[in-house]
Symmetry: C2
Subunit: 217 residues, 2 copies
DNA sequence: GTGAAAAAGGGTGAAAACACCTACTTAAAG
DNA sequence: CTTTAAGTAGGTGTTTTCACCCTTTTTCAC
């Protein structure tokens, strides 16, 4: 054994986090730095106890897993990231991997797999299980015909904003006022999204936004 | 100390469950019976090690927390139930309490609260924290003017079915065909729901259905 | 600067969604 | 047996959504 491994653990569900911390301690990782969200975790990094690896939840208040991963890769590029999520959808997986995660495991996996994943990431820098591989392959196969690394076509900032506003009871006219754009332009956004995503109605766009976690329900 | 307490733990998120089990053991509850879902838990009850209290997750595959609570109250009425969920919405809370839960805590609560809750339920049979109390009061205050124990007005089976179909790209006409009713009747369903729920558009109904877990996203 | 591409803005008409009002049928409640 | 309430169904008209055509402005590479 060389230096002891320090594990970061970022999750807003306190019971899960403390329970997981207890598991980690039992499995030979006595040094666990916990945080409620990305922001709080970053604030704890000022000392000299810098984690070698961080288990990062995606859905958190204040600062979520996506943003945290980007920040960590920027400021602590040597720190390994293992994404930890409830969701097994392509979008979330691909996005976390793009943002610098070395692996992605589900919250309903076996503790044994967690241990294997941690060891793999510490040694090889990555851990790709069945789940991640299948999604990666699927994304790659669709990457040439327009789909990008998200599992669906690239969306602009304004399109995302539009998709979020669409999930309200506002009419397109009211949305155009909020976005300070002409109603016609909004019309164009909608038609472009219909075309890109193969959707035919506003309700379809709403469901797309929800399924891809573009809004918080 | 009298007889040792046996704790049941039903949750499909393996990491959370095993972590929580570890926490429970550390806190003086060495006897924990774990299960992935309600069905599996029921199957484990044949022996003579019957839990005094069960920590029951709501969202699980195969057999969820609602159904499990009802079954337990029917077959093991002496077993205490503590609902354990990620969601703090009125609907879920009220429904679990109606189904026999003695308490309801969130997955992001502190372990200390969990312990307090377990002790209270074992001794008094119930544990009502701030969260539960406020939702209970709100429900009671609205109970006279139409709102029922769900936190929103009672919905008929067909209305629920309608709300589920509304979350698709079908037009009302197509929905009427699926439900074998006149388009006018469907129109009436929509208007009645608008009125009852204070909603003004189809998108609003879609969001309502999702927020109240009437459909799986 | 020029030319291509992307973003924004526009018109018209059909279909869908929404508002409001009435009527019949059935089943429970008086 | 009548009254009420709930479920079903219809008529009419307005607003919103959607489809398909187009032009202007902005951006950016060359």
């Amino acid at each position: 054994m060389s230096k002891p491994v320090i594990v970061g653990l970022v999750d807003d569900h306190v019971l899960l986090r403390k329970g997981l911390a207890s598991l980690l301690v039992d499995n030979g990782y006595p040094l666990v730095i916990q945080a409620d969200n990305g922001k709080q975790f970053i604030d704890k990094l000022s000392g000299d106890e810098i984690p070698n690896i961080v288990l990062l939840d995606i859905n958190m208040p204040v600062m979520d897993g996506y943003a945290t991963a980007i920040w960590l890769k920027e400021h602590y590029p040597q720190m390994k990231i293992l994404a930890l999520s409830m969701y097994d959808d392509e979008h979330s997986i691909i996005r976390m991997l793009r943002n610098g995660a070395g692996g992605y495991i589900l919250k309903d996996c076996e503790p044994a797999e967690l241990k294997i994943a941690i060891e793999a990431i510490l040694q090889k820098g990555y851990y790709h299980n069945e789940l991640v591989s299948s999604k990666l392959i699927h994304t790659m196969q669709n990457a040439d015909n327009g789909s990008a690394r998200n599992g669906y076509p690239e969306l602009s900032t304004k399109e995302v904003k539009f998709l979020q506003l669409i999930c309200s009871e506002m009419t397109y006219k009211e949305i155009s006022a909020v976005m300070k754009l002409s109603p016609r332009t909004i019309d164009g956004y909608r038609d472009a999204l219909f075309e890109k995503l193969g959707i035919k109605s506003r309700v379809g766009l709403v469901m797309f936004a929800i399924r891809n976690h573009l809004i918080n329900v």
